[in-house]
Point group: C2
Chain length 528, copies 2
């Protein structure tokens, strides 16, 4: 995720060295593999693909050294799949002696559509610095060029800005050195008969793999950072696949070690140049610290982690419970908003209330293991929150939840109330049936993050067929548009939508979209 | 120089290892000095400066770290004088944590006018790769950035292409690490009373200093290479100032070691990534190998160099003499043209003939020292060439030399015939007096290279006042337009002229323009 924008740079933070040392102790080993391109391709119009651009085979990549490239000539190398890593290549000159430097541009792309957009045309608020391209002068050839930065890409477009009229550039030995802390080949693939779901699983697995680096990154292209909302979903997906508990521990410790002075967990943290919390705070994200800890303990009971981090979890809950009124209504303020989804075009009150209930249930589970003496108070608060939700937020006439002063009926409210199991199973089924009837097809939602929760709510409400249908319509549609990994943003009605105004800023491998591996494992195969 | 364009990449070359080893033996030590900027400046319109752009003081450079720079902001640092070298700077972020890479551009300029031109607007034939700018992404701050390439500049414009809305870039400790193989502080400055000439001398000295690197470069911005035409003038200027004989020896050996299989010396050679001759051949440049060797021996008699290189010098002369007809007329063909000047809008026949006479005189001087048995044949050829020049090319009615089938009267013919002393002193004086009367102000000539020969011809013809006047009008005018070093190209009537269509491709520190130090020393102070 990246869309949220806050500046609170006056906030002071704790830096718990003991917890930071544990975070460091669980730093993963990064695995590197050399990948060679499969082919030289060219862009072609293809109305079935994202933004109408696909690729067509031109030559085998092995023919690259035979090309003698002059001013304004370019080649696109296709590595055949999405990878995260560095790039190196050997360059030489042909013709007369090299009487000028070589000026060369490298542009790295996850999707062909990115190669149709020029960075100069982008003027959105998101930093242009994320555009994956480099301009390089080389005074002397031959040389071996190793670009120092890491990119997220399948394609690299190499453009010769200039040689001189007397010589040409020759490119050999392009190599992508892939980086990840896991290996999808180590995962025992589940037996999925439905080939569409099988493909969705595979692409989800690659998405998760490419986001598992030094931390769980939200997106390896952008922002390459540990966000708590992405982490929660990544951890669930990881338990269903790689089962790498250390990386989850590392990330939990990072958040636990760097709370604000008032105790709140920040929405994201940086690890370079040093461990550093961001000054962005989201109420639901802070609460998800509890959720991640509980999911972790349920997958892999670890008393040390629990003892270290339970106080942090409890603090998040206490901060949130301070915001409920006497009726059991969570009153959300602008300084500590809930995220729920990128869209701010719907009322988030009821969804926020449900997230609090959802995480309070998980907190009580943790409190039980911890033998927390105050557990009854939390149970009482839970009942109060549920009771308010059932009596005030649920509208029996519509069979749906309402939200905010305008009594808005939106998809997020239904989904989160169902996930929080505020009503019984029969009622949940009714709510989601009504939601499908009245709120489908979903509009105005562009994040796989929200679609994940919708799909899971359908499963939880016993509407498996609808859940599978939505998974195919949403994640399956990305694949048919050309996805090798799942995207940060996708709106099926408007497949070319970019929250940033240009696909060159989009992240086409994004952690919060990898969850079909979790959903398929949990609801279609069994919790194995 | 750079304007000449030939492709002869089928030509095979000799590589005389013994001579190349001697060239390596005389490799200079490069001296490095840290230079800090004097001020932060801004461009201002100033009709008295090149292209109408000067600079104005904004802040002391020491205030740079106080600036917090955002998207599209920029600063121009002024180092106070022209230098050749590398650039380093420390970068940090201010504000919220750095949630995106820094994308930053550095543009290095010798003259303020360069900063007004965008590289994207340039579409000339000369390689865009010469434009001195770099685009850099930095993923993590703080960092110490050392740009690996060498630039030629006084100004560096630092543009923040993007940070993010959450943080700003902070720049500290900008350093220019200057490079040259000499030091103008080691030169005992002559006592010049005329302050205008004093300034011209100083700027010429800086020009020469900045071009004296691993070889005598033509221009440190572009093409950074050893050209024989520039070398001849640089060596003369060096004898008048730094008196660095080793660098001249190195360059003579480089040319002597890498002749074409037919024996011709190429017009220029490369030394990186290895010693390599260019495939450009110019008859006058090949002959100047003789001239450089003779000038060197006259400054510093060195039997070893002479013995090593005399055969190469003799070969150049023999190739040229093979091209004279029975009447003593040098017949120049298109495959092996004379350079004389960039302009191809005048007939070069007579100037070429004069260069042959000029260098044949020097060759005979060398042949005498060597005791060459064939010396009489060369003396006979010299008489034949002179006789043809006096009787056919000199037009007594006009008191000027004519050139080519159209009997064209141009400045180059007069100048070179005077330099070659084809006529006696009285006649030379008459020719140059007529030239001043009829051909001044000079038009269509944009090179200090040609202006040098005009000025020297005026001195040789006894017209010192005219010579000094021209020096002030030409080199002095560059200074008044803002030159810190003298330029590759300058046409006084059209001061904004660029042979490449844009000042960003111009070389504003160019070896062949440094010669006032030589002319002032030789003709105004005495050959001391």
């Amino acid at each position: 995720m990246a869309f949220t924008f806050q500046i609170n740079n006056q906030v002071k933070f704790n830096h718990d060295q003991r917890l930071l040392e544990k975070a460091t102790q669980y730093k993963p080993i990064i695995h590197y593999h050399d990948v060679v391109p499969q082919s030289i391709v060219e862009l072609v119009k293809d109305s079935t693909k994202l933004e109408g651009w696909g690729t067509t085979f031109i030559k085998k990549a092995s023919e690259l050294p035979n090309l003698k490239l002059k001013r304004d000539q370019r080649v696109i190398l296709d590595f055949g799949d999405h990878y995260v890593g560095k790039f190196s290549i050997d360059l030489n000159s042909a013709g007369s002696p090299m009487d000028s430097p070589l000026f060369i541009k490298f542009k790295f792309a996850e999707m062909p559509a990115e190669l149709k957009h020029q960075s100069d045309d982008y003027d959105g608020w998101l930093s242009k610095s994320w555009i994956q391209e480099e301009y390089i002068h080389l005074d002397v050839l031959p040389t071996h060029l190793e670009l120092p930065r890491r990119y997220s890409f399948r394609y690299v477009e190499i453009s010769i800005i200039d040689t001189s009229p007397k010589w040409q550039a020759v490119l050999t030995n392009p190599i992508l050195i892939s980086e990840t802390s896991v290996n999808s080949k180590d995962v025992m693939l589940p037996n999925i008969k439905d080939t569409e779901l099988q493909n969705i699983y595979q692409v989800g697995l690659k998405t998760l793999e490419d986001c598992m680096q030094d931390v769980f990154e939200d997106g390896p292209k952008r922002d390459r950072r540990l966000w708590i909302g992405d982490l929660r979903l990544q951890a669930l997906a990881d338990y269903a696949t790689f089962k790498d508990v250390d990386l989850v521990k590392r990330c939990l410790y990072l958040f636990g070690a760097m709370t604000a002075e008032d105790g709140r967990v920040p929405a994201n943290v940086f690890t370079k140049p040093r461990n550093l919390p961001d000054d962005t705070f989201l109420l639901d994200y802070s609460l998800f610290f509890i959720s991640i800890l509980d999911d972790f303990e349920k997958f892999h009971l670890d008393r040390e982690v629990l003892h270290d981090l339970y106080p942090i979890a409890k603090k998040q809950m206490n901060v949130a419970l301070n915001k409920i009124d006497q009726n059991g209504h969570l009153v959300i303020d602008d300084d500590y908003p809930v995220f729920i989804d990128w869209s701010n075009d719907f009322d988030k009150d009821t969804a926020g209330q449900a997230v609090l209930i959802y995480t309070l249930r998980q907190f009580i589970d943790l409190a039980k293991i911890m033998g927390d003496q105050e557990i009854d108070q939390y149970s009482q608060q839970l009942q109060l929150l549920i009771s308010y939700s059932q009596t005030v937020l649920y509208d029996p006439a519509q069979g749906l939840f309402i939200s905010g002063p305008q009594k808005e009926v939106n998809i997020a409210s239904q989904v989160w109330m169902v996930l929080a199991h505020v009503m019984d199973d029969a009622n949940n089924n009714e709510v989601m049936t009504n939601a499908v009837a009245q709120l489908f097809p979903i509009t105005g939602i562009a994040t796989p993050y929200m679609y994940h929760h919708v799909t899971q709510a359908l499963f939880e409400a016993g509407l498996s067929n609808e859940a599978v249908k939505l998974m195919k319509q949403y994640w399956g549609k990305m694949i048919s548009l050309g996805a090798d990994t799942f995207w940060e943003a996708f709106e099926p009605d408007n497949p070319n939508y970019s929250p940033y105004g240009s696909p060159i800023l989009n992240s086409y491998c994004h952690a919060w979209s990898c969850t079909p591996v979790y959903l398929i494992q949990k609801y279609l195969i069994g919790e194995g």
